[in-house]
């Protein structure tokens, strides 16, 4: 009479693995060249060099982005009528180094060779407080570099830029060179076994300090160095420049960041209009992109040695398959073996006092100058 209910709670469920995915997308976006003026820069009030870059936008499809705007005239005018003229030191780069009164209000005007005129909204200098601390922390994921600073009522919105430099080693260490048919030892200036390189695509980091008690920014993570990174092969340096911005500039950078980094995720915001404080003068139809701020920035540099974070294993993908070839090349065959761009002498093989020959490797694996420079940067401290 009573058949058991066929409850299949221990049912085996077929799970098929599937993926959500990102694919490259090439939209048929207009190839029209809008050529909108782009103004970038920060005017330092403490006599340090102020650089303003003028360029034009390129169509999305264009690969070469270098479109400097040359021959423009840039003038900074204070509310009391003083005027400073920027000098074009490189294509599209305009520079000025003056000590300016932090209590005055300034305007930047730009005249382009095509006759169009732009003027910035009035700008008030903001003095950034000193960076209190730049430190680092080794954890299971790598090294975190953080910053602490103390804002104030005037300086609530911060922007940090950083530059990283570090020493790295090639896959195969060689002190030898092949020159004029001869293998010889490299001099100090010719070293290829140890190089410096730098990060040229830094991210902008922004923070609104008003969120925190007394505008204190405590141990804000700025940079993360993942495990195995070459940056900590021997010695690493980071210089952080801190600028205090007004609300409008902060919004500009925040939108710029969001529009670039934060678009297209499931809950990402829609792109916003990028407002500029560079306003076209009457008669100029085209708008401009960019936000120029004025003030006094502060900066701080720290170094991290490999020993500070040891043990730190390094993996450089470029050098993954580097080996020293096992066959010995006798000295009399050196000229034949190394007279090309790929094979280079890596080791001398000695049998007591007698030079038996050389072990070879590739130039890719031995020459670190292919990825960096063997000259220490000017600021570098050992």
């Amino acid at each position: 009479m009573g058949r058991k209910p066929a409850l299949l709670f221990d049912l085996l469920v077929l799970i098929a693995i599937t993926t959500a995915c990102r694919d490259p997308f090439e939209p048929e976006v207009t190839d029209a060249d809008l050529g909108i003026l782009v103004v970038e820069g920060f005017i330092e009030t403490n006599g340090a060099e102020s650089k303003i870059t003028l360029s034009r936008t390129a169509p999305i499809s264009q690969t070469d982005l270098s479109r400097p705007e040359m021959g423009a005239s840039l003038r900074l005018v204070s509310e009391t009528g003083e005027m400073w003229q920027f000098a074009e030191t490189a294509a599209g780069e305009y520079k000025l180094a003056e000590i300016l009164d932090n209590n005055k209000i300034y305007e930047l005007s730009i005249s382009l060779p095509d006759g169009s005129e732009f003027k910035s909204k009035p700008m008030k200098p903001i003095v950034s407080p000193e960076i209190e601390e730049v430190g680092f922390l080794r954890d299971e994921f790598g090294v975190e570099i953080f910053l602490s600073t103390q804002g104030n009522e005037e300086a609530e919105y911060f922007l940090w830029e950083y530059k990283e430099h570090w020493i790295f080693f090639p896959g195969v260490i060689s002190f030898l060179k092949f020159e004029k048919g001869q293998v010889s030892t490299r001099g100090e200036d010719e070293r290829i076994d140890r190089c410096w390189t730098s990060n040229i695509f830094p991210k902008i980091i922004l923070q609104d300090a008003a969120r925190f008690e007394n505008n204190t920014i405590l141990q804000r993570e700025l940079v993360r160095i993942p495990n195995m990174s070459e940056k900590l092969s021997r010695r690493y340096s980071i210089e952080i420049t801190q600028r205090a911005l007004d609300r409008e500039a902060y919004d500009f950078w925040e939108i710029l960041r969001k529009n670039s980094d934060d678009i297209g995720g499931i809950f990402s915001p829609l792109p916003s209009i990028l407002k500029s404080n560079i306003i076209p003068a009457e008669g100029t139809v085209r708008e401009a992109i960019g936000h120029i701020s004025i003030g006094q920035s502060s900066s701080k540099r720290i170094y991290i040695n490999n020993a500070d974070v040891a043990p730190w294993r390094v993996f450089i993908p470029d050098y993954e398959f580097c080996i020293i070839f096992p066959d010995t090349i006798p000295p009399n065959q050196a000229a034949l073996a190394f007279n090309n761009d790929t094979r280079v002498p890596a080791r001398e093989i000695w049998d007591g006092p007698a030079l038996l020959g050389y072990h070879a490797s590739t130039k890719q694996c031995t020459d670190c100058t292919l990825r960096g420079t063997n000259k220490a940067p000017d600021f570098w401290e050992n």
């Binding site: 066929a6 409850l7 299949l8 995915c21 694919d23 997308f25 809008l34 782009v38 360029s55 209009i273």
Partner: protein, 917 residues
């Protein structure tokens, strides 16, 4: 076997007691009503009440219907009546054996063993199901209904609800009749019927078209309630349901109304195998969504927050789980869904675009049923049934048991460390008190928790409960009073590092009271009137530090309170056979009250920090700002003939609560905002015109509806708007006008092995920064497409029933890609390549196309086992088309690269096991 036989005999014995008053055995005379039943049934009824035994060829008599009313008649008289004019003859021998033959009367000398005895077979058949026994019992029991009402003499009103014996769903279109005066009534879509009868004894017959006739013996003393469960066979269930929809589509005056019952929803292949309310309504014309992983839906070009989602009177603020993969409603507890795209009934208000009314089950009043299912991600279990003669309930829960899906969602992105889970539970309870009162309780709760990385956890929850009282004053007037509370909250737990650990919270609470009346003025007018009151308590956001090391400054945006009260009156007016008009109005009073502090700005300039000139603080309960105004709901039908009609409608709506979302879809972290002195209530109207026609004896149903909508005081955002923890939201918004128009074509096939529909919708949805808004003009103040403007949409839903147990479904969905703002130029800035965006929504993502396939395998119906099971097996996105959810550009190593993101990029197979016992 023998035990069963004894039980049956006892029950037949009880049945005899009941029937004894109807059929007198004195001198073998018979009294009784045999309305349209099979001869076999008739014979078994006579056999069970008398000593007669029938012998006949079932096959030959299978077509014969008995439709006779007997009063003190002999069996001979009855049989003569039944077989009059037919080729059948009968013979009754002295042992009271009745032989029925074809052509000539039976010769007495024939060996009676030639025929098999019906008694044995009938006994066997009945024994196989306890259900039958119960039914025999209810059929023969005398129900005494109503309380004696001295003021009324003569007639009384009987009301009740007709549900399916098999699954407890309401039976639409069942006929309730008595055969003396041929009084009849038809149950509506909720299974409710109402019939006026003289007081006294009656035999009520309840017939579902194509189903069995059920009967009840009643003694009607006064107005009363009688709920009845009737048996339907599976095939006739859908046919009957749809048949009545067909008639109502042509006949009802409202337009833009779509109804789906759970049976039709089951035929639509669902993602991950679960019947899903919101995904089902997305197959209807005029309903669209911006993407697969989005929470809301857009009706006729309206934003997702313009839909009022009601679940047995509760407003559900977030109707989804897992970013919209599942809707918040447990399918086993849902009876049907009504979606009002235009013609919103006058009793509903508060949203501009639509009302989605999800009707939950109050439980089968006759038997306890347990249902459940196991899918790839979720398991669900529910139980419903009677608790007593006047009490029924349904209770259910659903939960995830695995979050594997998130592991594969956006693989190779930051989301692999994600985790997600949810649960929901439901309780619906119904209690009859006396004959004129019904009390109902509804409780609903849901909770979602998810994270994309280990540092930040999001959670949200709905909590709703309400208590309703339905009272029938007399046959003309009924009242429904509902009191309840709805709440929705979400939170974010940030645990990035101890110094900035925080908890963020948002909460909305809504207390409501509704009193709805229905009054049948006369045969041509039915009035609906009432009052709705709503109290909003909204906590727009608060952030608090977590742990002793955290230096996050606690911040709480001040609470908002408001009252929304509306009164309404509507009339269904049947002018004549051809013309029916449904007209009404609501008047809404809204007041935004203290305690609160409101910013004051200079007049005539954009609201910015610079134009802020002060603030004013209001005390508790003090009115800060009030808005009021009328809403009109008018629709009319002109029936051209039996199979076609034309309808015209106009309605206006007001909305006082707004969802602030800067995304294309609703995100679980979007906040709601009440109208205040700066943010005005949204207003919208809609004019619509429709033509409806059925073909081939209602086999096909065709409709076309066109509409135009205007909307005012919509909200768009200024550039860089920050919505969370913003004390001065008015500085971030843009007053925006909206406009939407379109046409919806639907062709539906309701009968036969192949059923389903195909719909095409053309719709546009446009926005424009209001002329008076000076802060910022999006696209220079021109019209621009809204984020959900998808002009072309085609949906194909087909179901092919290969047999009663096996059917296959195919769903096809095509729509224009949604608008997107794309980069049109690039430049270097801040060390990276950056993009310059086009005008708002100037481009579109690629078109969307998807096919889903599913097979539904029902358990064996013939074997009367206790558990009924079914399997649903299918593939979502059969073609594996990589439908982009969005496209975006991002610098990779300083070079700008375009990507398109697809949520379900591969075919996703699914399998779900469902059971019921």
């Amino acid at each position: 076997m023998s035990i069963r036989a004894i039980i049956l005999l006892i029950l037949i014995g009880i049945g005899r007691l009941g029937f004894a008053q109807e059929i007198s055995q004195d001198g073998q005379r018979i009294t009784g009503l045999f309305p349209g039943i099979s001869f076999e049934r008739f014979a078994s009824q006579i056999e069970s009440k008398t000593e007669f035994r029938f012998y006949f060829d079932e096959k030959a008599l299978s077509e014969t219907q008995v439709n006779i009313s007997a009063k003190e008649n002999t069996l001979s008289q009855i049989l003569t009546g039944i077989f009059e004019g037919s080729e059948f003859r009968f013979f009754i021998d002295e042992r009271k054996r009745v032989f029925i033959t074809q052509g000539a009367p039976l010769d007495n000398s024939l060996n009676p063993d030639f025929f098999k005895t019906l008694e044995d077979q009938q006994t066997l058949d009945s024994l196989q199901r306890q259900k039958d026994i119960d039914r025999v019992y209810s059929r023969n029991k005398l129900y005494i209904l109503g309380e004696t009402n001295p003021s009324k003499t003569g007639t009384a009103t009987l009301r009740g609800n007709i549900t399916s014996l098999e699954n407890g769903t309401p039976v639409n279109g069942a006929i309730v009749f008595e055969k003396i005066n041929y009084t009849r009534a038809i149950s509506n879509d909720k299974g409710n019927y109402e019939i006026k009868l003289p007081t006294g004894r009656h035999v009520l017959f309840i017939q579902n078209l194509g189903g069995f006739v059920e009967q009840r013996q009643i003694n009607l003393v006064g107005d009363g309630i009688l709920d009845i469960s009737i048996e339907e066979n599976i095939i006739s269930l859908s046919e009957v349901t749809i048949s009545s929809e067909k008639m109502s589509n042509i006949g009802r005056p409202e337009m833009g109304v779509q109804k789906l019952n759970i049976a039709s929803m089951k035929k639509i292949p669902a993602v991950l195998g679960e019947v899903d309310v919101i995904r089902s309504i997305l197959t209807l014309p005029g309903v669209q969504t911006v993407g697969e992983a989005s929470v809301g839906f857009n009706v006729r070009g309206g934003a997702a927050d313009q839909n009022l989602i009601l679940y047995n009177h509760s407003t559900i603020y977030n109707p989804s789980h897992l970013f919209g993969l599942f809707s918040a409603f447990n399918p086993d507890l849902v009876e049907s869904v009504d979606l009002y795209k235009a013609g919103v009934p006058v009793k509903y208000g508060g949203r501009l675009s639509s009302v989605l009314n999800v009707n939950g089950k109050y439980g089968n009043p006759d038997k306890v049923t347990v249902r459940g299912g196991i899918g790839l991600l979720t398991g669900r279990l529910s139980v419903d049934g009677p608790l007593g003669p006047n009490t029924s309930f349904s209770l259910g829960a659903r939960s995830t048991y695995s979050d594997w899906l998130l592991k594969i969602l956006e693989e190779n992105t930051d989301f692999q460390n994600g985790a997600a889970n949810f649960y929901d539970f439901d309780l619906h309870f119904s209690q009859k008190i006396g004959q004129k009162n019904v009390l109902r309780f509804n409780g609903y709760g849901s909770r979602d928790r998810f994270r994309f990385d280990p540092d930040t956890t999001f959670q949200y929850q709905n909590q709703n409960f309400n208590l309703g009282w339905t009272h029938y004053f007399n046959e003309k007037l009924e009242m429904e009073v509902v009191l309840g509370r709805d709440s929705y909250e979400f939170g974010i737990e940030g645990r990035d590092n101890p110094s900035n650990a925080y908890n963020f919270g948002f909460e909305i609470k809504q207390n409501f009271a509704k009193a709805n009346f229905r009054y049948e003025l006369d045969e041509r007018h039915t009035l609906q009137f009432g009052i709705n009151a709503l109290q909003y308590q909204l906590s727009p956001g608060s952030i608090a530090p977590e742990g002793p090391e955290s230096i996050v400054v606690p911040k709480t945006v001040s609470q908002e309170q408001a009252f929304e009260t509306s009164i309404f009156l509507g009339d269904d007016f049947e002018v004549n056979d051809k013309i029916t008009v449904n007209y009404g109005a609501r008047y809404v009073f809204y007041s935004f009250v203290g305690p609160n502090t409101v910013n004051i700005y200079q007049e005539g300039v954009p609201r910015t920090p610079a134009s802020l000139i002060g603030e004013r603080t209001y005390g508790s309960g003090e009115t800060i700002q009030s808005y009021s105004g009328p809403e009109f709901r008018i629709s009319g039908r002109y029936a051209i003939n039996n199979i076609s009609s034309v309808k015209l409608g106009y309605n206006t709506n007001r909305q006082f609560i707004h969802l602030l979302t800067n995304n294309a879809a609703i995100a679980p972290t979007d906040i709601w905002k009440l109208s205040d002195p700066h943010i005005k209530p949204q207003w919208g109207d809609q004019i619509s015109l429709g033509y409806y026609r059925n073909f081939k004896v209602d086999k096909y149903e065709f409709s076309v509806e066109a509409y135009h909508r205007n909307m005012r005081n919509l909200i768009d955002f200024r550039s860089g708007a920050v919505l969370i923890l913003n004390e001065a939201l008015e500085q971030s918004v843009l007053n925006t006008d909206g406009r939407a128009y379109g046409a919806e074509f639907l062709l539906r096939k309701n009968q036969g092995k192949l059923s389903g529909w195909v719909s095409y919708t053309y719709s546009r949805s446009l926005l424009r920064t209001a002329a008076a808004e000076t802060a910022e003009k999006i696209n220079n103040g021109e019209w621009y497409p809204s984020n959900f403007d998808q002009p072309h949409n085609v949906v194909l839903v087909t179901n092919y029933a290969w047999s009663r147990r096996f059917s296959t479904s195919l769903l096809g969905n095509y729509s224009t890609g949604r608008p997107i703002t794309l980069p049109v130029a690039k430049f270097n800035y801040g060390g990276s390549e950056r993009v310059y965006f086009s005008e708002r929504n100037a481009y579109r993502i690629p078109d969307y196309f998807r096919l889903d396939f599913s097979m539904n395998i029902e358990g064996n119906h013939k074997v009367r086992k206790l558990a009924h099971s079914s399997w649903s097996i299918g593939v979502y996105n059969l073609l594996g088309r990589r439908n982009p959810y969005s496209v975006y550009f991002t610098p990779v190593n300083g070079v700008l690269k375009g990507y398109q993101l697809s949520i379900f990029a591969e075919p996703i197979p699914f399998i779900t096991y469902n059971f019921r016992f």
